[in-house]
C-alpha cells in the first residue's frame, strides 16, 4: 500500500525533474532506501514494475541501494550501525543515540536518453 503511494510520488517527481531538464526517455532511476525508512525494497521494486509503465508508458530500470541504520552516540560521539534495532552505542554501550542515516528514501540520480540526440 504504502510502497505503491511512494512509487507514485517518485514517478511524479521523476517526471517533473526530467521535464525541467528539457525532457528525455528515463533509462534508470537510482534511489537509496534506508533500513529504518519503513519501506521494503522488494515491495518497492514490485510496485515500481507495476506503476512505471502505467505512468510513463514504458519501463525504466530501478536501481536501489540499501542504506544501513546508523546512529551517533550522545556520550562518546562514535557512530554505530544498528542491525537488531537495539539502540545502543557499539563503542561504549550508551543508550542515548541519535539516528544519522537510514530513515529516508532518497531519489539520487536519473539517467535519461535525450530525445533529439536519440539514435
Amino acid at each position: 500500500m504504502h510502497e505503491y503511494s511512494l512509487v507514485r510520488s517518485l514517478l511524479r517527481q521523476v517526471e517533473t525533474i526530467v521535464s525541467d531538464e528539457g525532457g528525455g526517455v528515463v533509462e534508470e532511476v537510482r534511489i537509496e532506501v534506508g533500513a529504518f525508512s519503513g519501506v521494503d525494497i522488494t515491495l518497492l521494486e514490485l510496485a515500481f514494475a507495476d506503476e512505471a509503465s502505467r505512468h510513463l508508458g514504458y519501463q525504466p530500470r530501478l536501481q536501489t541501494t540499501a542504506v544501513p541504520l546508523e546512529v551517533e552516540c550522545q556520550r562518546c560521539r562514535s557512530r554505530s550501525v544498528i542491525e537488531d534495532f537495539e539502540f545502543r552505542c557499539s563503542e561504549c554501550g550508551h543508550q542515548q543515540v541519535i539516528i544519522v542515516s537510514g530513515e529516508e528514501v532518497r531519489l539520487m540520480e536519473i539517467e535519461i536518453r535525450e530525445l533529439n540526440n536519440a539514435s
Binding site: 539502540f87 543508550q95 529516508e104 532518497r106 531519489l107 540520480e109 535519461i112
Partner: protein, 227 residues
C-alpha cells in the same frame, strides 16, 4: 546520448515540510497535537471517550479519528468532544493532507489538545508525520508483552507508551515491566503509563501527563521523536 541528472532529495520532503508547518502553527496557537497509534482494538477510542469526560473540565479538546471506512468511532466520541472522522478509503495510515482537511472542518479550531486517533496499524503510521507534538502508542495487555521489539520503528518514534486494558491483567500472562523494558531498548526516553478505560485505573496519571505536556508546549519546550 544518455546523461545522468543528480538529484539527492528525500522523497517525502514535501509531506514532511507540510507536517512541520502544521506542528508550528498548532504550537503557536497553543494546541498540543497528540497522535494515538496502536494495533486495531487496543482501546484508543475508549480511552479517548474517558479522557474527554475527565479532561474536558480542565481543557478544551478536539478529535480527528482515522479509519479505513465507517463513522463509527466519530459517532462514539461525538457525545463527549468535537470530532471529525477521517476515512482513508482503504489506506492503512493517515497522512498530513487528510489531517489538515479534517482540522478545517472542526467546530473547535483552537482546542488546547487535538487528538488524532490513527488507523489501527503499527507499521505504516510509524513512517508518517502528522504534524503532532507527541506520539503515543497503546499496547493492550491481551496483545502480549513481547510486542514492542517487533515494531521498532513505531516504538522508536513514540514519546509515550500506554499499556491499556490493565483490568484484564489477572486473566492474561502479561508482564508490564518486561514490555516497558523491551520498549526502552528501542526508545530509552519513552514515558510509560498504564490505564484501564473500564475501571478508570491510571486515568488520573494519563490526564496529568497530558496537562503537563500542554503546559510545556505553551512555554515553548515541546519535544518530539517523530520525523
Amino acid at each position: 546520448m544518455t546523461r545522468t541528472i543528480s538529484v539527492g532529495v528525500d522523497l517525502k520532503q514535501q509531506l514532511k515540510a507540510r507536517a512541520a508547518h502544521f506542528r508550528e502553527r498548532m504550537a503557536a496557537q497553543g494546541t498540543l497535537v497528540v497522535n494515538l497509534v496502536s494495533s486495531p482494538g487496543a482501546g484508543k477510542t475508549q480511552l479517548l471517550e474517558r479522557t474527554a469526560v475527565a479532561l474536558g473540565e480542565h481543557l478544551s479538546l478536539a478529535v480527528l479519528v482515522g479509519d479505513l471506512a465507517t463513522n463509527r468511532d466519530a459517532e462514539r466520541l461525538a457525545p463527549y468532544v468535537p470530532v471529525r472522522q477521517l476515512t482513508t478509503g482503504g489506506a492503512c495510515h493517515l497522512e498530513i493532507p487528510l489531517v489538515e482537511a479534517g482540522f478545517e472542518q472542526l467546530e473547535n479550531q483552537r482546542p488546547d489538545i487535538l487528538f488524532i486517533e490513527n488507523v489501527g496499524n503499527l507499521v505504516c503510521p510509524a513512517s508518517h508525520d502528522l504534524g503532532e507534538h507527541m506520539r503515543v502508542v497503546l499496547l493492550s495487555v491481551t496483545e502480549g508483552d513481547d510486542k514492542p521489539g517487533k515494531y521498532p520503528k513505531m516504538y522508536r518514534t513514540s514519546d509515550a507508551l500506554v499499556i491499556s486494558k490493565i483490568d484484564l491483567l489477572p486473566y492474561v500472562p502479561f508482564d508490564v515491566s518486561f514490555a516497558e523494558q523491551d520498549a526502552r531498548t528501542i526508545q530509552p526516553d519513552l514515558k510509560t503509563l498504564s490505564v484501564s478505560a473500564v475501571t478508570g485505573a491510571g486515568l488520573d496519571d494519563w490526564c496529568q501527563f497530558l496537562m503537563q505536556a500542554h503546559e510545556q508546549l505553551k512555554h515553548g519546550n515541546a519535544t518530539s521523536h517523530c520525523n
